[in-house]
């Protein structure tokens, strides 16, 4: 299996009131292509911090992170940004769709930034919205969509540039159980088509849908259901 994420000895400190808060204290984690892992743990254990480091949103205070063979710790912000645009997808708890754009335009946006022509991106956006079950809502703006529908649009947006890795931070956190189940079923389909998934959740029930669970506490990985000795 190809390793798509390789984190070694990753630590992250945040300054707070003149002191350093140790959010992560030396995490080792490897993720292979096609895997779906859940990072679970109580609030404040460092799981979102870890996700941000693995995805190249933040830089570690120490340690190294390789994403798709690229050393994130050595890349400049602009390079990390390009990598995120072309190779990585994101789904956030609060959807964060652009309220002034239609569902279709929201999905088109990352493709437009990647330089894909209008006709091609329009076709793919419609295809993706069909995939997430919103083919009939392409012209609707986010304020006119339900929470579940907005999250589906966010997933379609995350898949726009055919990412190899999809990161999701509490993707069902704002949804009711039934809608959350629908979103997880959608993730299952995305993963089944070969996309590597890294999902952060505090809900053990949601985490159980992934094939591998990484449990965190106090900035450390305390259990990894898929550990092969290293973690």
């Amino acid at each position: 299996m190809t390793r798509v994420i390789d984190a070694r000895g990753v630590a992250k400190d945040y300054p707070y009131g003149g002191e350093a808060v140790h959010a992560l204290r030396g995490v080792d984690l490897g993720v292979d292509a096609g895997e779906w892992i859940s990072i679970v743990g109580p609030s404040g254990c460092g799981k979102s911090s870890l996700l941000n480091l693995l995805a190249g949103i933040d830089a570690p205070s120490s340690g190294t992170v390789e994403l798709l063979g690229r050393p994130l710790h050595a890349l400049r912000e602009a390079e990390r940004s390009r990598l995120r645009l072309r190779e990585v997808g994101f789904v956030f708890q609060r959807f964060h769709l652009l309220a002034v754009l239609t569902a279709q335009e929201n999905v088109e946006l990352p493709m437009s930034e990647a330089g894909i022509g209008r006709a091609e991106r329009r076709g793919r956006a419609r295809e993706l919205l069909e995939f997430v079950g919103l083919g009939h809502r392409v012209k609707h703006r986010p304020p006119h969509l339900s929470g579940g529908e907005q999250q589906r649009v966010a997933i379609a947006r995350a898949l726009a540039n055919r990412p190899r890795v999809l990161f999701a931070d509490e993707p069902t956190g704002e949804l009711d159980r039934r809608t959350g189940e629908e979103i997880l079923a959608l993730f299952q389909r995305v993963n089944a088509e070969g996309t590597t998934m890294v999902m952060v959740t505090h809900d053990p029930g949601v985490a159980a849908r992934a094939e591998r669970t990484v449990e965190m506490a106090d900035g450390l990985v305390v259990r990894d259901s898929g550990a092969k000795g290293g973690s």
Partner: protein, 392 residues
């Protein structure tokens, strides 16, 4: 797409944006008016000076036109020497004096009277009758209108008043030869024109002139002609229109200072309005902006969108402020031109496309800079921290 989305976001809050645009429009209108005011009076004065084809003015040494009662001595000789200067085509002599018009009850009204050279006069445009000859006067339009004077009527004039007795001296009757539109009169001014020789005789100044106006041949530079006249006739001061405008500029320094101060205030208010609206918009969309950055949209592209908001606000505000500013300039001009002592044809506000474009361009630039400040803050904040704050 990002810029388009930013601009659409600007108009998502229509009420707030409309209020801001109204404020920017008022500021832009004020800036436009101050820009027009800064040079308006001088430019208008220059146009007025040259409007009758006489680009130069010659006055008693060191005196500006009608700045004092001083006169040019040996005026006819001076005029002849000026006319002999190569490039000079006409020399018009003018002598200013005060006369009193006596009404039927014996009340005296002082009237500014000019003695003009019938063959070269530049002070009025004839609207009825003819130029004044011997025993005749030409009256200004307001005087003809208010007194019901017509060509052929008679007016009684005195050349002086005995202050101790309160009695007029040297009373004479004159026939109204014509009615004129006086170029340099203030609004509603009642004044007279008489033949130069008559004024000289009445005032006991047989060969004097208050000023002379000189016309140059086509293609001859006013400044070089003024220098040549000064060399040929050193007893007088000769001013080109440009030099007189320069003198006017010096006297109107306070106008320019006021225009600069008010214009600067307008620029600062515009900057504050734009940056406030853009800052609020950026704060409201902080999560959206952080998400855009997270999905890989380049920081410069996001910044361009935010700067475009500032430019759009400033530009639309300018477009709205332009007609408002022109309307305000018209109203203010009407008020200011009614000041006594100022020629009614002078305009305080001059449309100068170059200056106006520069002022409006400055507002657009201010909009861009005002957008840069919140935009820079939004795209430079640590991304991880921004996402965490949004999730909390």
């Amino acid at each position: 797409m990002i810029v388009g989305a930013s601009l659409r976001a600007l108009f998502r809050r229509r009420g707030r944006t409309s209020l801001a645009l109204a404020g920017i429009a008022v500021s832009a209108a004020l800036l436009l008016d101050m820009t027009m005011l800064a040079s308006g009076l001088t430019a208008s004065f220059g146009e007025l000076l040259g409007s009758r084809g006489y680009a130069l003015r010659a006055t008693p040494k060191g005196i500006l036109p009608f700045d004092s009662d001083a006169t040019i001595r040996d005026a006819d000789g001076v005029a002849a020497r000026m006319a002999a200067v190569p490039g000079v085509t006409r020399v018009a002599r003018v002598l200013g004096a005060q006369m009193w018009r006596m009404d039927a009850r014996g009340a005296a009204e002082p009237l500014f009277t000019v003695g003009i050279d019938r063959t070269a006069q530049f002070l009025y445009t004839l609207t009825a009758g003819a130029d004044p000859g011997a025993g005749e006067v030409l009256v200004s339009e307001p005087m003809a209108r208010t007194d019901g004077l017509r060509v052929g009527d008679r007016v009684r004039l005195a050349t002086g008043m005995d202050a101790s007795l309160g009695r007029a001296r040297d009373l004479r009757d004159y026939r109204v030869s014509g009615i004129g539109d006086f170029v340099y009169n203030y609004a509603g001014q009642r004044s007279l024109a008489m033949e130069l020789g008559e004024v000289r005789r009445l005032t006991g100044r047989p060969n004097e002139a208050s000023l002379m106006a000189v016309a140059g041949a086509p293609g001859v530079s006013d400044d070089s002609l003024a220098r040549r006249i000064t060399a040929a006739v050193p007893a007088v001061s000769t001013y080109s229109t440009r030099e007189l405008m320069g003198e006017m500029d010096k006297r109107l320094l306070y106008f320019r200072q006021m225009a600069t101060i008010l214009g600067s205030i307008a620029v600062v208010v515009t900057a504050l309005l734009v940056s406030t609206i853009v800052t609020i918009g950026v704060r409201e969309r902080f999560g959206e902006i952080a998400t855009l950055r997270a999905v890989g949209v380049a920081r410069r592209r996001i910044l361009a969108g935010i700067v475009a908001e500032g430019v759009a606000l400033a530009t639309i505000g300018c477009a709205l402020g332009l007609p408002l500013g022109l309307w305000m300039a018209g109203r203010l001009d009407t008020i200011l031109r009614a000041f006594p002592g100022l020629p009614a044809r002078l305009s305080f506000f001059a449309w100068d496309a170059g200056r106006v474009s520069l002022a409006m361009g400055t507002v657009a630039l201010i909009g861009a800079l005002a957008g840069c400040i919140p935009g820079w803050g939004a795209v430079r904040s640590p991304l991880g921290q921004a996402l965490r704050e949004e999730a909390e």
